[in-house]
Structures are given as C-alpha cells and as structure tokens.
C-alpha cells in the first residue's frame, strides 16, 4: 500500500482558507493562491448542500411520541430510555470525493473546521491520517498562545511536525 499525500487544506467554519500546503509535486495541478481561496469557499458551500441532499430522513416525530410511553416503564436501563427525546445524528456532509486521478478525504470537526486531505486513488486508512493531522492541529496550533482563531495558520512547530509526519507516510 503506497499512499501518497498530495496536499492539505484547512478551511475555517466561515469557509475561509486558513492553511494550504503541498507535499508532493506532480500530484495535483499547480493553481494560484487566489484559486485556492475560491476553491475553499466553493467547497464550503457544496459541503452544506451535500448534507441537505440526504435521501433518508431521520426518525419521524410521531414515532417518538408513540414509543416513549411504552419505553419509559420498561427500558429505563437502556440509553434510549433515559432520553425519550434522543438527539438525531448531526447532518453529515461530503466525506470522501473520488475522481480518476486523486481522492479527497474531508474531516469536519465538531467546531466546523474542515481538513481536506488530497491523496492518490489507492485507499488505505486515509481516515486515520486526517485524525492524526487534527491531533497535530490541536497540539501545535490551538495550544499556541499567539494563534488567533479563524485566522491563517502560521505556526512553525505545526509546519515542522506535519512535514515530518507526512514525509513518513509518503516514504513508506
């Protein structure tokens, strides 16, 4: 399994590009920083639409009222019994995009920050890689006292750690 990571993009919750780095030349076409900004904004909108397009709808409300009376007496031990108004799953937007030449994994944090990881088309645990990148982000960006929220990421430590982590993957 040779996974090559081409690039990483981080988009803040407003759809602005806050980090953009290419790890492997030749994987993706070179586009200008302005185009990257446009791309980030476009993707942010598309991501919101894909969450709305879900053809399945979650449990209906009438279902909940009919079952709650019977479950409160019997299923008090279960997780569902304690919460008759169980919260539905949060809407999930695009997670993986596949094309002929590359594959894009999108990881959305609960706070709305999106990590887009561009890899080649062979699939092997890209999910884990995005989580690890998120770990690095929390460790070296969020804990940096000089970092301002929602602003472009300029942290040396993050750059270095991310660089060595991705190099390790690409040389495997």
């Amino acid at each position: 399994m040779f996974v090559t990571v081409f690039a990483l993009i981080i988009i803040n919750k407003a759809g602005g590009l806050i980090y953009n780095r290419t790890f492997h030349e030749g994987g993706l076409h070179k586009i200008s920083t302005n185009d990257y900004l446009v791309l980030a904004g476009t993707f942010h909108g598309v991501h919101a639409i894909t969450a709305r397009l879900n053809p399945l709808k979650p449990a209906a409300t009438l279902n909940r009222t009919s079952t709650s009376s019977s479950t409160t007496t019997t299923a008090a031990t279960g997780a569902g019994g304690g919460a008759p108004f169980a919260r539905p799953d949060p809407p999930s937007g695009l997670e993986v995009l596949e094309t002929e030449n590359f594959r894009m994994q999108c990881f959305t944090t609960l706070t709305g920050i999106k990590f887009l990881l561009f890899t080649d088309t062979t699939q092997a645990n890209v999910d884990l890689t995005t989580r690890r990148v998120y770990d690095l982000y929390t460790d070296y960006v969020m804990k940096n006292p000089f970092y301002q929220l929602e602003m472009p990421v300029r942290c040396d430590m993050f750059d270095r750690k991310l660089g060595s982590y991705i190099r390790e993957i690409n040389n495997r």
């Binding site: 476009t42 894909t50 053809p55 399945l56 009919s66 596949e98 590359f102």
Partner: protein, 153 residues
C-alpha cells in the same frame, strides 16, 4: 445495495429525467420501537437543482486540481453516496445509492449505452432536445431502467 434515486441532466443543465425508488424495508417494521426508523424523504423539485449545482461545482473543482482529463466519479457522506458519469456530449447521469455501494460508473455507462442510446436517441419520434423531459419518458426506457435497477438491488 440500495438505489435511492437517478437523474439525467442535458447539456443545457436542465433536469430531463428524475426517478426515485422506495427503500426495500417495509413501513410496518419501521414502527417497531427501536427498529430502523429511516424513511425516504419526499423528493422535491429543488433536489434536482441542488444536485446539479453540487455536481457542477465539484466537477469544475476536480478539473482545476486534476487537469482537464480528470473526471469526477463519486462522493460519499455518512448517509448516502452520489455517483456521476458525464458523456462526451455533456449528458450527465447521477445516481444516489447507499454508502456501501462500490463504484457505479460502469452501471451508469451501461444505462447510457443500453437504455439512453437504444430507446431515446434511436427513437425516430424523439426530439433532439428534451425540453421538460419530452421523449425521455417513454415506456421502453422507463421499463428498461426499472428492470436494470431492480436487477442490481
């Protein structure tokens, strides 16, 4: 695998065919407490527009990043997967399935070759442009599509 819906868009970006399939789970068991309570959301006319917008933006994004020869194939969310196939004449076929489905590119290609070309393009009574879906909603095409999708599920 489950196919939720299927759309065809012509080169003028108009939706000329749309069809949705009901999920195989019967409605009686969805009322059982704790059972699977997912039902199909009623498809609206806006869905086709939203899908086209999504597919169009993603296709442009992919072309920008992957080069002009690159083609957008599919995307997946936690709840569904969308497959896309574009012919040389800019006819766009879109299919929504469940997440476990593998690539449906060849299936969409088969629909284009065996159904679209055979029953719509080769139909002498069918117009060249299918404004509002004229000429697409013919009996043979509908029947063939239903059988083809039924065979997959």
């Amino acid at each position: 695998m489950v196919v939720y819906s299927f759309y065809i868009f012509d080169r003028h970006t108009e939706c000329i065919y749309a069809k949705t399939w009901l999920p195989p789970t019967s409605s009686s068991e969805s009322h059982a407490p704790g059972g699977p309570t997912t039902t199909l959301r009623p498809a609206s006319a806006d869905d086709a527009k939203l899908i086209f917008g999504t597919v169009f933006s993603l296709r442009n994004m992919v072309r920008k990043l992957g080069g002009d020869d690159d083609a957008f194939v599919s995307y997946r969310t936690a709840h569904y997967k969308l497959h896309f196939y574009e012919t040389a004449s800019s006819l766009r076929l879109v299919m929504l399935t469940d997440t476990a489905t593998l690539s449906m590119r060849n299936v969409l290609h088969q629909i284009y070759i065996n159904l679209w070309v055979e029953y719509v393009v080769k139909n002498p009574l069918s117009p060249v442009e299918h404004k509002g879906g004229v000429g697409v909603r013919n009996e043979l095409f509908e029947l063939g599509l239903d059988q083809f999708i039924g065979g997959l599920m």
